[in-house]
């Protein structure tokens, strides 16, 4: 694999790598839970809890990645008619979703930091983990989403208005 170029592509590659490693860990932990229940007849008390925490992180890291890759479900009411519009109009229309996501990400980041601070005072029942470690996934998701949405906005500006060829995107993934 050639090393990804550009800050955003590097960031999303690291984002994906961390998510994938955590997903691997999640698989191992749930497997251990099944195994200990069947073989030892006594599952670890911490495994179910830890699995939920890892799942939380994996989902939010993955969801941020999908903001960058523009894969989130959209209802397409325009049925491709946008392509016939003038470049400026097209950019204006494509900017709206990015701006909405930016605004929400900013709010979620502020709220998420507050929530993480509350988490500092809480400890998980079985795994004795500090809940701030878990809740921190929310501001992380918000910050990454903000950066990716901003990147997409700038990219759209360059392609539609300035008429420059888009930067090479990630290879399209199979659905």
């Amino acid at each position: 694999m050639p090393a990804p170029r550009g800050f955003l592509n590097k960031l999303v590659a690291v984002n994906g790598a961390i998510a994938t490693v955590l997903f691997g860990a999640l698989t191992v932990i749930v497997s251990l839970q099944v195994l200990t229940r069947f073989v030892l007849h006594m599952p670890f008390i911490w495994s179910e809890e830890l699995a939920r925490f890892l799942f939380f992180w994996v989902v939010l890291l993955g969801a941020a990645m999908s903001v960058k890759n523009r894969r989130h479900f959209v209802i397409d009411v325009t049925m491709g008619r946008v392509d016939t519009w003038s470049p400026t109009l097209r950019f204006g229309f494509s900017a709206i979703p990015h701006l909405c996501i930016l605004a929400f990400a900013a709010l979620l980041f502020v709220q998420g930091i507050g929530y993480t601070k509350i988490g500092l005072l809480r400890t998980a029942t079985n795994s004795r983990l500090n809940m701030a470690l878990v809740y921190a996934a929310i501001p992380t998701f918000a910050a990454l989403t903000f950066i990716y949405a901003l990147g997409n906005l700038l990219l759209d500006y360059r392609t539609h208005v300035r008429g420059r060829a888009p930067e090479p995107l990630e290879p399209p993934m199979a659905e």
């Binding site: 790598a17 997903f23 749930v30 605004a103």
Partner: protein, 434 residues
Amino acid sequence: MLWLLFGSFALLCLLRVPIAFGMFISSTLTIWVQGDVPLSIVTQRVWVGLNNFPLLAVPFFLFVAQAMNETGTSQRLIEFSRAIVGWIRGGLAHVTVAVSMIFAGISGVSSAEALGVGSVMIPAMKREGYPTGFAVALVAASATLGNIIPPSLMMIVYAATAGLSVGAMFLAGIIPGILIGVLQMVYSHRVASKLQIGDTHPFSVKKLGASTLISWPALLIPILIIGGILGGWFTATEASVVSVLYVMLLAMIYREFSLKRLYKLAEDSIGMFSLSLLCVAAASLWAWILAFYSVPQGIVAWFGEAGLLGSQLSIFAVVVFVFLVIGSFMDAVPAIIILQPIVGEIGAAGGIDPYHLGIVVVLTLAIGLLTPPYGLCLLIAADLGGMSVAAATKALVPFYIISFIVVTVAVFAPDFILWIPRAALANLMPGAAP
């Protein structure tokens, strides 16, 4: 309040804001304008919505579906299906339905199934003279079984949203799934007889033996999942992780895996399941607001005044109609989480068994996978067959009828549909025989 929530959400969708963010933003806006609760509820609901153990089955089953296509398991299952049903008139059509049913017993995602089965079976059927429209429609329609025969992504999300047992929901899908598969085969047989096609593969014990030998490890997965849940050994989540391990073991045995491919596959799956699961998180906030302002109760009261709660039949008619329309425009997962809080309340007020309601909703949403503009199976199959969505939709008409027949059966004969989960999980199911 209701107008603000639904109105801003509809507006955001029209402006092409992704559904999950549309739900987040319209809920946040409503909370901010109403000012009854602090905005910190937003973060709290993201955590509560995802902090749900049954949801862990979603990534695992999705990963298995991706891995099946990636490791050539789909290919081996097609060979096996060819040996069991390929000799009947309309052979390849029966193979398509049979392999879709087996695939459905392993994966819970219809789009992966349409892609995996369709990329092989559509060209194969075309070569043997089947009309392209029929081949495309059959692949699309049989792929919907992925969400009906357990495991099923839609059922996991429905059960998690409605607070039902995922295992019981799964078992409720067995009878309707088989019913749809059999009706599709009957129809295929009629088409093949009329066109005098598809009668070229004589039955051979040798082939059956050989293909069983290479595909039996994969065939164990549905037995493991359904048997495990039926026997009460596994929960759905545990069954999902067991199938992940099993598929990886198979890949190692068949030597079809490198670490690099595994990494790519996992990363790609994460990108995919996070789409549905972010919707779950957003819907958790959405549902909380609805509950806080007693919206479901309000709608139930409105239904009562309109005289629609009088019979269960009228409730079902409304539910089927609403999910049919919504399912044509958006993915099934957000459709379920947006509407389930309301529909569940209406069903409860009408005295409908929640599993009965759930299976009717899932069967209806499965039709939405086949209807334009947003029918994933339709879009994938039409693309694979190289035909327009409009032409493929026309070819799908007989299959719409088949699915409707089964929805009707599910509405009118709950005792027949829910027989398996009631017998297996008697303690979980209301209305089960003692």
